[in-house]
């Protein structure tokens, strides 16, 4: 008899679950459902958490202001923990069970690429928040994305180098996903800007000393600048070693270090480093007549006030995705997924935190190089670089 009682807590838990599930599925038919599968926990949570907070914050704001076309927005968020197989299951759930109008999500390139076929088959628009260019190339009819690509970051750096007449460069890249992918894209677009890569070094993410590679670059004759595609703490070590062995030419970092922790890690060595980054980082410094200024300042202040955390470009991608979708639904005059998709593709002159979006049937990102600003680090802070508005 006592053994039977041991089962009771479990049965109770099961019953509670059933009730909770039933309650969670109650939704009004007239509402517009938007889905989102994000990596809010797990190794990519530093990307996924601000995305989730941004979506929840602005869906609440939109509903408080009366919703869209007189209907309330309902946001359905699932956490995939960075696991593409889980992401795919949740994507199926959004399509089959929740019957969402569209999806804004997909934190990592892996989860986005895994989910894309589901939305493509179900004919539901999917706006991804991940970096890889493969998400939109080749173009899938129902798949879009908002973050700029690393190819664009390279082009921005090379454009700046060309303008300064520094076309013979050395590269030192991380061997992680980010560094590898960006290095490849840089090699692809170098010719277009007349840039010659004289030295091509690499380091692994765990390395704590990059002096040998940098010495090789320093001793290569004719080097006029150095570019460092990298992510995390590697670039900070590169920057410190760079100053230590006294390389005299300018150093360019990537958008992967566009966070305050890079400046803290690199210290005074970061002074004079240039990098491409979204306008969001220098929101208050933008000229008064800059079209992006009201958007980025507005988002920065709203987000920081609501969450008490510093704004990041990742949350900005979610902001852009949500409002591209909201505008498309307004133009479509309803929540029919196919009509909404057509309108997303027609997005033009949409000013977001990432830049000005002009989508087309052949371009499901729609950003150009103006999405990036060239920043220079001085006295431990970002400033718009000379010659970049």
């Amino acid at each position: 008899m006592t053994k039977r009682f041991r089962l009771l807590p479990l049965l109770a838990a099961g019953a509670a679950l059933t009730v909770a599930t039933a309650a969670g599925e109650r939704a009004v038919a007239q509402d517009i459902k938007i889905g989102s599968v994000l990596s809010a926990t797990g190794p990519a949570s530093f990307l996924g958490a601000p995305e989730e907070k941004t979506l929840r914050l602005y869906v609440d704001t939109i509903n408080a202001e009366g919703g869209i076309l007189g209907k309330k927005l309902v946001l359905v968020v699932y956490d995939d923990g960075g696991d593409p197989s889980k992401a795919r299951t949740f994507a199926g759930r959004l399509v089959d069970e929740d019957r969402v109008t569209a999806m804004v999500g997909g934190t990592t390139s892996g989860t986005s690429l895994a989910m894309a076929p589901i939305f493509e088959d179900a004919r539901v628009p999917f706006i991804s928040l991940a970096g890889a260019v493969e998400i939109i190339e080749p173009v899938r009819k129902y798949v879009f994305k908002t973050p700029h690509t690393d190819r664009m970051a390279c082009e921005k750096i090379f454009g700046d180098l060309k303008a300064r007449g520094l076309v013979k460069i050395g590269m030192i890249s991380g061997t992680d996903a980010f560094g590898k992918s960006m290095r490849e894209q840089c090699l692809k677009v170098a010719d277009k800007y007349g840039v010659t890569i004289l030295a091509d070094e690499s380091y692994s993410a765990q390395d704590s000393d990059m002096t040998p590679q940098l010495t090789n670059i320093k001793n290569t004759p004719g080097i006029q600048a150095v570019v460092n595609p990298g992510f995390g703490q590697g670039p900070a070590i590169v920057t410190r070693d760079y100053r230590q062995i006294g390389v005299a030419v300018p150093l360019y970092e990537s958008h992967g270090v566009a966070s305050k922790s890079y400046i803290q890690l690199a210290g005074p060595a970061a002074d004079g480093v240039r990098l491409p980054a979204a306008a969001l980082l220098v929101a208050e410094q933008l000229p008064k007549d800059d079209a992006q200024r009201p958007v980025v300042v507005g988002y920065k202040q709203t987000y920081e006030k609501a969450t008490g955390e510093p704004v990041s470009t990742f949350g900005g991608h979610a902001y852009d995705g949500l409002f591209i979708l909201v505008d498309a639904m307004k133009r479509a005059g309803g929540a029919d997924p196919t009509k909404v998709r057509d309108e997303i593709e027609k997005t033009t002159h949409f000013t977001g935190t990432g830049g000005m979006f002009n989508m087309s049937p052949t371009d499901h990102l729609g950003l150009d190089l103006s999405a990036f600003r060239m920043l220079e680090i001085r006295n431990g802070d970002w400033y718009l670089a000379q010659g970049d508005r």
Partner: protein, 314 residues
């Protein structure tokens, strides 16, 4: 002996019945997908149970074999133009060979050295999959070619529900039959007392090695199925957390019971789907449920239930 035999057929019969009957209550294809994932995870769990339940050894890097199976069907057809079905076999062979290499020396030692060795093995596989981007597509993963049988393209959750269900039934039947083979009898003897088994002339190391190889093959096949079903694979398939998931399935369901492993797989795959209503507290709720099971049903769900409902004899 007769009772044992019938218990075996009951397990298999109930499994087949559940697989056949579940679609009657499925309202949408999403349910087929989740169920297919349960069957696929269960294949790996049933295999791991042979190692944990009979040989008394733990593999903490079992997802590494999932990864090998998954990437075999991703790389083989795309790079070498091989048939996907052949690649499942090649993946299983490679897994078996690696298990033999890792286990051959380690399993001669007493104690849980295999757990440590497999822990390292799992990390190694995950690292290789993430870093050899030329072959594996790197951390962002790689697409997996769809398979077809006689011109019929195998896609969609419903097809895969039946396919993985059938494979699970086959895998379970084999696992249950193993008990009656010479290796199975030796493993059972070994489970009761290693010294007694050795004295009875059983090559303990060889038996453990066989259990490990069989478990690796089960996991590899499950990995191949998962990759073919998803149509996309990333190094995440071989992650440490997934190895822990597999061990948890076997432990929660009840070590030594194939039915328990399937039930454990069912719980661990479907619970996160039910728990999404708790949003941020999902992980806490999942942990709490597993803790409750371990506290109140210490031997695992199925063995405890069997004990509860078995007629008292004596």
């Amino acid at each position: 002996m007769r009772a044992l035999l019938s218990a075996r057929w009951v397990t298999l019969g109930v499994l087949c019945l559940v697989i056949a009957a579940l679609p009657l209550v499925f309202p949408s294809s999403y349910y087929y997908r989740v169920a297919a994932l349960v069957w696929i995870s269960a294949i790996a769990a049933v295999g791991l149970n042979i190692l944990m339940g009979y040989a008394g050894q733990v593999s903490l890097g079992h997802a590494g074999f999932l990864g090998i199976g998954a990437y075999a069907v991703a790389i083989g057809p795309a790079r070498f133009g091989l048939n996907s079905w052949l690649c499942i076999l090649l993946g299983a062979l490679l897994s078996a060979a690696l298990a033999w290499l890792v286990g051959r020396t380690i399993l001669r030692l007493r104690g849980h050295y295999l757990a440590i060795a497999t822990l390292g093995f799992g990390f190694l596989i995950a690292l290789v999959l993430a870093n050899e981007a030329r072959w594996t597509g790197g951390p962002d993963g790689t697409p997996v070619a769809r398979v077809s049988v006689a011109g019929f393209r195998l896609a969609g959750p419903v097809t895969w529900y039946w396919l993985s269900g059938a494979l699970l039934a086959l895998g379970t039947a084999l696992a249950l039959n193993l008990e009656d083979s010479s290796v199975g009898r030796a493993l059972r003897a070994l489970h009761d007392s290693e010294i007694a088994a050795a004295l009875a002339g059983i090559d303990v190391a060889r038996c453990k090695l066989w259990a490990f190889i069989i478990a690796a093959v089960y996991a590899s096949v499950a990995g191949s199925m998962l990759a073919l079903f998803d149509g996309f694979v990333t190094p995440d398939v071989a992650s440490f957390l997934r190895s822990i998931d597999l061990v948890a399935m076997v432990v929660v369901g009840g070590i030594g019971s194939s039915a328990g492993s399937i039930l454990g797989a069912g719980l661990l795959v479907t619970l996160p789907q039910f728990l999404t209503v708790f949003a941020e507290y999902e992980q806490i709720a999942l942990g709490l449920i597993i803790m409750l099971v371990m506290i109140f049903l210490r031997r695992g769900i199925v063995p405890t239930a069997q004990q509860l409902f078995a007629p008292r004899r004596r």
